[in-house]
Subunit: 97 residues, 2 copies
DNA sequence: TATAAACATGAACGATTGCTCATATGTTCA
DNA sequence: TGAACATATGAGCAATCGTTCATGTTTATA
């Protein structure tokens, strides 16, 4: 336990963490931590423009960190799985020592 | 558990994950996961130039992810704490589904 | 003290990133 | 069908990043 397992995968790992390496994306993920939301609600909750949110959601979706579902003209996004929450909480633990 | 705790801290969190968002730095941290090493050994273990390793170690040290200790003209680096291992393993879990 | 070894550092440059602005796509409803 | 709403997308640009190359700093040893 708490022992590094793979000596490879460094590239994929870096790719994964790149998705967490931006304040806007973190805000979006934290916001989605409260529950599924549509793009407009994410934008107002985070104070980021609709366009910027949409661009970042694309990045998060590509990284398999969020999933979405269309319902009429509204598209609802949610965190892909509990790994996302866990990774964020792990980071918060580290920050708060 | 597995519930996002803080609604703020987004900036600091992004800063933390930026340190993991580069393949070279991940390679260095995985290498240090095997145990403490000097700069030259890290360079040969990762196949990265001494200069690049040194630059990245500075970044990792600034992020409090590694610590170092001078012994003569050799400087030995090691992972700062088990959070680093945990964060990397968490990422590997996510990658390997 | 002069030299070499181990590491750090600064400048410079190409590559990537995240935003804005304008516009396109898709959907509902009158 | 046409207007309005929700979201996505592409171009363009400033900012950040990671490397290399050259050189500086610190320590040991002849």
């Amino acid at each position: 336990m708490d022992e590094i397992k793979s000596a490879d995968d460094a590239g994929k790992l870096a790719e994964l963490y790149k998705a967490f390496a931006d304040e806007t994306r973190v805000r979006i993920m934290i916001s989605l931590g409260e529950g599924a939301k549509c793009v407009g609600d994410i934008a107002s909750a985070t104070g980021v423009s609709q366009s910027a949110v949409s661009h970042q959601l694309k990045t998060l979706k590509y990284a398999n960190l969020v999933s979405c579902q269309r319902d009429g003209r509204v598209i609802t996004y949610e965190l892909a799985d509990d790994h996302v929450r866990t990774i964020i909480n792990m980071g918060l633990d580290h920050i708060h020592e």
